[in-house]
Symmetry: C2
Subunit: 338 residues, 2 copies
Amino acid sequence: MTILDRWGEGVTATIYDVARHAGVSVATVSRVLNGLKVREDLVERVRETVLRLNYTPSRTAQRMRKSTSHLWALIVPDFENAFFTRVARGVEEICQPRDTCVFIGSSDDDPEKERRYLEVALAERVGGVVITPSSDTTDLTRIVSAGIPVVVVDRAVPNGAYDTILTDNMAGGRLGAEHLLGQNLRTVACVVGPENPTSQARLEGFLSAAKASPAIDIVRIERGNNRLDGGYRAMQRIIQSEARFDAVFVTNNLMAVGIIKALGDMLPERRNDIPVVGFDLDEIPLLSGACIASINQDPHEIGRIAGERILLQQAGTPPVCSIALRPTLVATAGLGYP
Amino acid sequence: MTILDRWGEGVTATIYDVARHAGVSVATVSRVLNGLKVREDLVERVRETVLRLNYTPSRTAQRMRKSTSHLWALIVPDFENAFFTRVARGVEEICQPRDTCVFIGSSDDDPEKERRYLEVALAERVGGVVITPSSDTTDLTRIVSAGIPVVVVDRAVPNGAYDTILTDNMAGGRLGAEHLLGQNLRTVACVVGPENPTSQARLEGFLSAAKASPAIDIVRIERGNNRLDGGYRAMQRIIQSEARFDAVFVTNNLMAVGIIKALGDMLPERRNDIPVVGFDLDEIPLLSGACIASINQDPHEIGRIAGERILLQQAGTPPVCSIALRPTLVATAGLGYP
DNA sequence: CTGAAAGCGCTAACAC
DNA sequence: GTGTTAGCGCTTTCAG
């Protein structure tokens, strides 16, 4: 009984089936598949048999022998955030031509969920891990000591000797403050993300540049969860505090959306007079508002570089690079109002 | 030389290392790991050793023996479209508790790219494939004959005997037409996605319900690529044709964004008077417009059900179910204008 | 240049 | 209960 008789039962041909049907040894089949030197007529016979049996080599088995994996892990805080899907695109750009796939895990900023994804990445012996750590406590040492390349993106790990690709977040914060100063807006409410280096750096950059003279008056600083609802609620709290403010600075894109929504709901008469300055708002389609400025990172580029660093580490380059991309501020009137 | 001496060189402990250090056989280690009956003190010793050696079983090796895979593939036309990231969330909800991961491929509606992802899924011998086929020519037979569960989502495959989860798109189209009729809007331009069953059904549903009396006058039908730029350009063509229309019907979410952008750019004075009816606009944060109606699917539910069907197929259920979810129309004034 | 055979790390019979 | 061992499907020496 050959593989052909078992057709349709959910079986896949193995390299032995191919060898048998082609009348050669498995070694020869393997060589043909891997492009090594084999006599022309045998190559032909093997190729033909591969096609006839619909043979696809098992990567699982391949991975056991060679120890290179065609599977990478991308672990991000929120893959519903367009910023991270664009990072994923950047990584994909590197993977695709190498027949490599990326599995994506969304940690939702939950250290436990993140830990489980890291565990899976380790168990799968992936070829590389690209991660935005949920917090300072994220443990990447096991991955590293297993010899798996790791690249940290978007958020630095304090004291970590990892390849790191991120944006100069301090500079981003400063850019935001300078923009507001330029517009002569000096009474500002801030909405900041969870306590991680990125949120922190953006806020710090903002605060440092806000110390101009005359300085920006920071009327309130609220924390949020980097998602739409967090921004909405933070804005609610600010409005309810009855603090007076004439602009809002926010450290993340989705929270900006929530903020604008809250402004529309709670202060409809002022909604067009309160400029919002946030990060990566260009990833939000059609975001509209009276006066919005976006401090833009380049997520696609971040992903692409991360992918390249994975490749370099696979080739033996030690992980010591830290790349900070410069953000750019784009002021926009949004879609515009009549 | 034990595993401990090789520490830090990028090696991982194997089950043999654990067995040796714990003074038991590999079978015992395996049993402990898989929760089979083992003497208490041995369990203890193995557990302790596993921790000490930082041992993580290789799923690659596991997959070679058992043939169950903890890795699924999700292949969608565009994972930057929030609709599909929500589908992914639904699938994840099923996977997560089973320690299973999903790798996501974006076919970008390119049959060749899709074919490559399917090839990878097959080579990886994934535990299941959830796919939105890029076109009628998508070949899923190889996956199926390898015994891999397949669930088709969002777009049916004509004549395909696959589990299929989608929305009743005809009904969605009808809903759109009825909404416009109810508003007494009877001069409508349509923007339709690429030629696939889903776009087609939505248009057909719309056209059939548009034949009321008095009927809706379809002034123009344009095709687009289901992405923002496609909607923008389709709207440009419509406007340039100088056709008169007082509402727009569009079969996809991102194109609706493009349309609204084009309206704002090209007909700023009318932009608030032209209602747009589209699908899944609730996935677009803050989408605003004079009068928008969204025909909503439930992507999370689609993904969840798809995940469950994968599980059922893994358990032996033949793939014969076809589930059509009912869409709901939500009319909204968007963010509202002052 | 080709084939036979030894593993990669694990599980599951099969013996003890 | 526990240990020994034969594979899972592949790559890669090592002989021929």
